[in-house]
Symmetry: C2
Subunit: 239 residues, 2 copies
């Protein structure tokens, strides 16, 4: 811990600033203390994509710090951000040679690998509506760990992910996202208040997520639990 | 090594047989000794996809053996196959508690993570032609490690990947693949002999791969080296 205290640095970023650029080596594990960032990349010909909106308390760029190769995506501040930078040398010095920490890092990287595998499946065979439902589900979770339910909390959060951002994740136009979200709103799946998107009914969202294949029994039970919480909150508001 | 000898099993599979099914836990690391397999999945509604044709000597399903969760893809024999199954308990027993082996496994998993990330980028923003060029490039390599050139060999192999298989990787129709490959053949990028597809000119293939962004100087130099080898072989044949 004292090594961390002595070497970690705290940085502040304004909206639109790059915490790290895409396509370059990363010399620090980054943990957001405040704000949110997009994990994104823009190509020389103007094509642009992002994979996710990332929030506070998640260790970011661990894999690129581990293998020392270029990070395919950069991190861009979506609002004012404060981030802790843990230098690569500190991170590797602490983790290497410690079987327990190595195991934890491997679990984190495996988790990310599985998220990427799901993204590849989505993008190869799922409809845009199904993909959007999955992105909404993931971005409404408070936890970074969305592979197994035992690492997730039943709490969901309203998202401020914009239509432009969903379009950059889906690889389609903002107009298409707008049409899909309007449909979902009319069907009672989501509701929107200004920039915020919230899940109105997790079970209806699940229907859209399950277009190709039923989710696991664990995830289905978990989503039912999320629904109970949302209903309880709604009742408390009307009481 | 003696633990491996005592617990590993050798199995034979006919064309079309599943070495392991998709969507289930995997209880062994698999290494093909003979033949080739597809890494694939079919959904209840008939949708089908694959990620790659996998060949001999590559350790397969390591990440799923490591984290103990379901493998999103199964392995299906494309021809008669012989495979070594190393039981999960043996693998974890040898790897856990050994910092060097853990580090090697982590590097393998990081490598796979990067391949998935590239696939996500391809599928979000690249044209089908550019994606097909990348798939052809990867499948013509003799090495499993296609992230850094220092782990690759300059030798390329003619592929027997079918149009149906490319279609399952790209998420498009076989007809579309056929049109794209015909175009590439006319442009001198590839040539076809029966089922086999070979790279005719690596530099022309590179042009198609670089649609969005120049490759790294290392990869460009490496591809030039592959071209030299191909030209040398062609000269030897005409001599």
């Amino acid at each position: 811990m004292s090594v961390l205290k002595n070497t970690a640095e705290l940085w502040r970023f304004d909206k639109g600033e790059a915490l790290i650029p895409a396509g370059q080596n990363v010399d620090a594990v980054i943990v957001l203390a405040k704000g949110s960032v997009t994990n994104d990349r823009t190509w020389p010909n103007g094509k642009h994509m992002m994979t996710a909106v990332l929030r506070t308390h998640w260790p970011l760029k661990v894999h690129a710090v581990w293998d020392g190769l270029e990070a395919p995506y950069g991190l861009t501040a979506r609002e004012e951000c404060v981030a802790v930078f843990i230098p690569r040398s500190t991170f590797l010095g602490v983790v290497n040679n410690d079987v327990n920490l190595l195991t934890q890092v491997m679990t984190l990287i495996c988790n990310q690998l599985r998220q990427e595998m799901i993204a590849v499946q989505m993008k190869t065979v799922f409809s845009l509506r199904c993909q959007l439902a999955l992105y909404i589900f993931y971005h409404a979770q408070t936890s970074f760990h969305t592979i197994t339910t035992d690492e997730m909390s039943a709490e969901t959060v309203p998202m401020d992910v914009t239509q432009d951002e969903f379009a950059a994740m889906l690889g389609c136009s903002r107009q298409k996202v707008n049409r899909l979200m309007k449909e979902m709103e009319q069907e009672g799946i989501i509701h929107r208040r200004g920039r915020l998107v919230a899940i109105a009914d997790p079970l209806l969202l699940m229907d859209a997520m399950e277009e190709d294949e039923p989710l696991s029994p664990e995830l289905r039970a978990f989503i039912a639990e999320q629904r109970e919480l949302i209903l309880k909150k709604a009742r408390r508001k009307t009481d």
